[in-house]
């Protein structure tokens, strides 16, 4: 019996990332562009994807991630949107194995855009790749303008940022300059679209950007 030391140098996310690559390849074969929607509970993730789908004249697919319930999936199915539900039963984010199991529940019969709505959480979803092409960060003016400073990773990793509930700007203390300054320190390139789920304002512009990015 003797002791020996072995160098390992293996990333803890290696297995997740391997499955994420597999998911991405599967989606690419079907010409599906995948958007990972991250944001705090109540920021308006489902409302945003509904509004984006209205403005995108390409087929849309949705995977809903929630700890429990299929409220959002039912809401989308009533609008004839192909949607499937992942329940994590406690886990605070989606990971690649969960998404891998869910993608086979969607038809992907036509090229289109897949929205994967992550569990409502501004922290953990940013840490896990799930095979997406881009990450959409959903924030709202009621979340507060200090969020880039408090949750930097989500802002750093975002490819597009959607600021919701701008119809409430007159009623809340949201310092837009402070908010934008924090974002630009962390992320020099992601566009920020100001929208209102209440009035529908701003989604056409965000959808146009998305359509171009997806190559449709």
């Amino acid at each position: 019996m003797h002791m020996m030391k072995a160098d390992v140098m293996v990333d803890i996310h290696a297995r997740n990332n391997h499955i994420a690559e597999h998911v991405h390849e599967h989606l690419a074969e079907h010409k599906i562009f995948a958007v990972n929607i991250m944001g705090a509970p109540g920021a308006g993730k489902t409302t945003t994807l509904e509004n984006l789908l209205k403005h995108l004249d390409v087929p849309g697919y949705v995977i809903e991630g929630d700890i429990e319930s299929d409220i959002d999936t039912e809401r989308l199915r009533k609008q004839n949107i192909a949607a499937t539900q992942i329940n994590t039963f406690g886990a605070c984010h989606l990971d690649a194995p969960l998404v891998h199991n869910a993608i086979h529940a969607l038809p992907f019969d036509k090229p289109g855009i897949l929205f994967i709505e992550n569990v409502g959480n501004l922290v953990c979803p940013a840490e896990f790749s799930i095979g997406e092409d881009i990450k959409l960060l959903q924030v709202s003016v009621t979340d507060g303008s200090d969020k880039p400073y408090k949750y930097p990773l989500a802002f750093e990793k975002a490819d597009i940022i959607v600021l919701n509930k701008i119809d409430l700007l007159p009623y809340v203390d949201f310092d837009e300059e402070f908010f934008m300054k924090g974002i630009r320190h962390l992320n020099k390139t992601a566009p920020v679209f100001k929208v209102s789920g209440k009035t529908g304002e701003g989604f056409a512009e965000a959808a146009a950007w998305l359509k171009q990015r997806a190559g449709f």
Binding site: M1, H2, M3, M4, K5, A6, D7, V8, M9, V10, D11, I12, H13, A14, R15, N16, G90, A91, C92, H93, D95, V123, C124, A126, E127, D146, Y149, P152, L153, E156, H185, L186, K188
Partner: protein, 125 residues
Amino acid sequence: MHEYPVTVQIVEIASETARQKRGKVRRIDLVVGEDSGFIGESIQMYFDVVAEGTLCEGAKLVIEGVKPQLRCDSCGKLFERKRFSFQCPFCDGDGSPTEIGKEFYVKSVELEVEDEPAADTGPAT
């Protein structure tokens, strides 16, 4: 809850190395950046439970933390961020995020290995 599945991954990675070397894990050296999103204390808490019944049972988990650093856009120096600020302490320029502080990997393991494996155990894989 958040650290449980990653602790399972850590035990699997270390156990795989032990299988390859035909040994048992006595110590795992893990590197966890403070911006990795994972808390060392929490991984430590789950570790003994997850390791039970595996090749890592009874092993010591040693966690090395890494402080996040920004790189100044103007002078290029690395520095630690102050709360609500990205300002460089050397030149007052603005700093951008780097990969320093986002580390999350198993660096090495210490194994207890049999001196002379029996002849009928087949070739090492």
